[in-house]
Amino acid sequence: MPKKYDTPLLDQLEKGSYPSFVTEIKKAAAKNEQANDLLGALEQCYKDKKTHWKHGGIVGVRGYGGGVIGRYSDIPDQFPGVAHFHTVRINQPSGFFYNSKALRELMGLWDQYGSGLTNFHGSTGDLVLLGTKTEHLEPLFAEVSSRGWDLGGSGSAMRTPSCCVGPGRCEWSNIDTLDITYNITQEFQDEMHRPAFPYKFKFKTSGCAVDCIASIARADCSIIGTWKGDIRIDQDAVKWYAKNGMDINAEIINRCPTRCMSYDGKEIKIANEDCSRCMHCIAKMTKALRPGKEKGATILIGSKAPFVVGALLSWVIVPFMKMEPPYTELKELTRKIWEWWDEHGKNRERTGELIERKGMRNFLEFIGVNPQPAMIKEPRRDPFYFWQPDELK
């Protein structure tokens, strides 16, 4: 493909030492008409200081209510290559594990049916294919689904669940994040592909409180691995850290958010009943400290980016849940939450916003969970527990 457009504004984004999406689009443009026109269309947007993209309309392939985000140019005559430029979400494997054969196959298809541009991975977690025409959607889907791939979620549906790499590579994981993600993906296929919720609903699972995928800030349901029982301490390893120059008081003891640790120059002691299992000390002293033996997850609800109301962080609703297949307790809880949301939620209202509007008490009563101290999210909030009239007898 010969160069079609001068792009002085975009070219500025190639300066500096960081990777540049402009450079990548230019590479794709060398062999793809759509990517070539994308350069021209984007330069035009920058020049006019307004977007020339429209969205909406098409949402999927036959039988699906999501997985494709319809994108159209509002100046298609000028840039026919991007007259349609739909995004396709492919459900990623848990933990983003691919082999090179699968990637080659998928990229071959994408060169054939789309712009060749991708996003590994979108903030939803999906493997995102950027830019194809309406008439290519069905043939592309037929090819990818025959190789075992499926579309991800979009619209008012359960979004593609995602997780941290967990036990696949990380010794801190308290739960099998990969299996949980795969399992809920299979269980809730209907909720993912046939949107019937007031708005989107996301699951993100982290193996521990380090929360590498930021589930606490980005998921309507955050599943975060934790433990019960005492943090296991290897005092010899504590001595090793001290000998190798760690200032244990400054780096560990004084940074424990609940002030439950002490160090007498020889041994570390932990008042485990006050520990909030934040992972700080374990992540800093991996050789010396390990989580307690009984593993499970904390279930939190309601985080989201600013939209109808401001950003919210997820709120603890179950401090400790055992996480073993087939995850019946989690699934039953999820169905209850969806039922309440379906009953009361307005169009485009996230679960967390509905809880803000109707109150935590109303929510807990419906899902059948008793209030507990671990649910207190921040000081100086009105308490959300009140006696019901029939409880006073």
Binding site: R62, G65, G66, R194, A196
Partner: protein, 71 residues
Amino acid sequence: MDKEEVKKKIYALVEKSVGKKKLKSSDIQKTISAELGISRDEVKEALKDLVDSGTLIYTYFGGSFVEIPPK
């Protein structure tokens, strides 16, 4: 309840609201299950058939809706 009957009711409901109000899947489930005295799962099954056959489609306008495909 015969599934074909449910499908007809759903289609009629969607047809009736064209140009007035876009219906969400949950609106259809609530209305039809109440009207016919059947479970929401039965309505969902019938709706799935209609979408699988292309008689109805999902659309997105700031939220997901069920509509009659454009001619």
